[in-house]
């Protein structure tokens, strides 16, 4: 092999690869927006994916939501009791669950359950040349596989996180009811009393962004899987790690923005 006289890397090998990766991920995301708006739309596959994703995550979200509701209530009660303020419990729970816990917990569960699933599925399609097979039979694999999955997570995860919040509040209600005999209606009225329009929209926006993140990262990692079967496991694993990290960053940014809007 010939040696090249020019420098091989702009910075160092690792940094070059890092920025190369960032650029690729950016192009992948840009491609999504370009192709999502163009015909043909695979509605059937989209519905199918929404159903799959919902079904895959539902049991775990139900369980986790319910337990979080109960545990969080049990843990908050003593602190409020010290001030004789247990009647505030429903409002506190409403804020904590609807604004913060619901979307975040759902996103974390889904990046583990759904994101890794997408990464592994597309990764194995990539290494066994199924994606190439689509391409050579004149089917656009990006449209059929990526666009449908990313839209599906973007639609499904907000619904799941609303569901998670409701289940968590039911968990809390069971605990509150057993102690204070609060009625179901009053509990929910109190829980939502301190939540305003902006809070609700922040929660929805967060869930939409999280959903998009999980879908696009799972697809990106899967589509770029290499090195035979070990690449599939790597793709799934990296999809989880990377989407969790980005979700935390997004959480902070969105909360900041929402607080900033509130000051007006």
């Amino acid at each position: 092999m010939k040696r090249t006289t020019s420098r091989k890397y702009v910075l160092t090998k690792r940094l070059d690869n890092y920025f190369y990766g960032v650029n690729n991920a950016y192009l992948f995301t840009a491609d999504f927006f370009k192709q999502a708006l163009r015909r043909p739309f695979h509605f059937k596959e989209l519905v199918n994916q929404c159903y799959e994703i919902g079904l895959r995550a539902l049991p775990l979200i139900t369980l986790t939501g319910f337990i979080i509701g109960i545990v969080f209530t049990k843990q908050s009660r003593p602190s409020l009791e010290d001030f004789g303020a247990t009647s505030w419990l429903p409002s506190l729970l409403g804020i904590a669950i609807v604004k913060a816990l619901g979307p975040l917990v759902t996103a974390l569960i889904c990046s583990g359950k759904v994101g890794s699933g997408i990464g592994a599925e597309l990764g194995s399609m990539k290494v066994t040349e199924q994606i190439d097979a689509m391409e050579v039979s004149a089917i656009n694999p990006f449209k059929y596989l990526v666009v449908t999955r990313v839209l599906a997570t973007t639609i499904t995860i907000p619904i799941l996180s609303f569901y998670c919040s409701v289940v968590a509040l039911i968990g809390s209600y069971i605990n509150v009811h057993s102690e204070e005999n609060t009625s179901f209606v009053i509990f929910f009225k109190n829980a939502f009393s301190t939540i305003n329009f902006l809070d609700l929209w922040t929660a929805v926006a967060k869930a939409v962004v999280f959903g998009f993140t999980i879908g696009i990262i799972g697809c990106y990692k899967g589509f770029n899987a290499t090195q035979g079967t070990s690449g599939v496991g790597k793709a799934a694993n990296e999809a989880v790690v990377m989407s969790m990290f980005i979700i935390f960053v997004e959480e902070i940014v969105i909360v900041q923005i929402s607080n900033w809007i509130r000051t007006f």
């Binding site: 092999m1 010939k2 066994t128 040349e129 199924q130 391409e135 050579v136 004149a138 656009n140």
Partner: protein, 256 residues
């Protein structure tokens, strides 16, 4: 071998001139030229890792060449827009080395899928008729409901070929059609390749490192050594040559 098909030497369906392709420092193809005529079967032989798969991936537009000209059915592959490329691809059947069947779909869905995606206006009746025809052509009528995972290697190959036939290709590209199969199944696949050629009137490039397959299916063989075709011509012609590398290849295959 007795050829039952007619080769039209006036019509070239694939024309490759001085093709180069490297991956970083790895120079895989170094000036490959090839002409495939209408109705002809060319076998490309070569050790693994010599760039045989890369060659047909360039023909189908999956990889871009660094230099050189690739003309398929009168179109320059690397200069086509996505839409034009897809139109061309409808005429090219690609049989993958490991069959690349869609794992999540049963055999019937695998066969229907390319047809329904490309021609959404077809009625269910028309699609069913097309499926019926190709599954019969590969002789696996009773497997339509099965999932790819439950098929044997030879059966997967057949379904993979059927899946490309459903689009009625003019050109077939076979990537190692007999690799990893037992000798009897190999013979059956060779037979299938010849049947497909007669029935669908295709021109084919068959990649292999199996000389029995080459002899059974090829009108012409070309040997890829070190990024270039060492020799091309009729089977006996090529293997009677004095080139050491070709002799080595021949002996190795038959001693095995």
């Amino acid at each position: 071998m007795e050829t039952l098909h007619v080769i039209d030497y006036n019509e070239t369906v694939i024309s490759i001139k001085d093709l180069y392709k490297s991956f970083g420092d790895l120079h895989v193809l170094k000036g490959v030229s090839l002409d495939l005529h209408k109705g002809e079967n060319i076998v490309v032989l070569g050790k693994s890792g010599t760039g045989k798969s890369v060659l047909i991936k360039i023909i189908s537009g999956l990889l871009k060449p660094d230099k050189g000209e690739v003309i398929v059915l009168g179109k320059k592959v690397d200069e086509l827009k996505r839409k034009e490329l897809n139109e061309l691809r409808l005429h090219i059947g690609f049989s993958f080395q490991n069959s690349a069947l869609y794992d999540s779909m049963n055999v019937r869905r695998n066969l229907e899928f390319p047809l329904m995606m490309n021609y959404p206006k077809l009625t269910k009746k028309e699609v069913d008729a097309a499926v019926e025809e190709v599954i019969e052509a590969v002789g696996l009528k009773n497997k339509l409901k099965e999932m790819p995972a439950s098929l044997s290697g030879g059966q997967r190959k057949r379904i993979g070929i059927a899946r490309t036939l459903i689009l009625k290709p003019k050109i077939m590209l076979y990537d190692e059609p007999t690799a990893g199969l037992d000798p009897i199944t190999c013979t059956e696949i060779n037979q299938l390749i010849n049947e497909v050629q007669e029935k669908y009137n295709t021109s084919s490039i068959i990649i292999t490192h199996d000389l029995t397959c080459a002899k059974a299916t090829g009108d012409k063989v070309a040997i890829l050594i070190d990024g270039q075709f060492a020799k091309a011509g009729k089977f006996d012609e090529v293997f009677n040559s004095n080139n050491e590398l070709i002799k080595e290849f021949y002996n190795y295959n038959f001693i095995q």
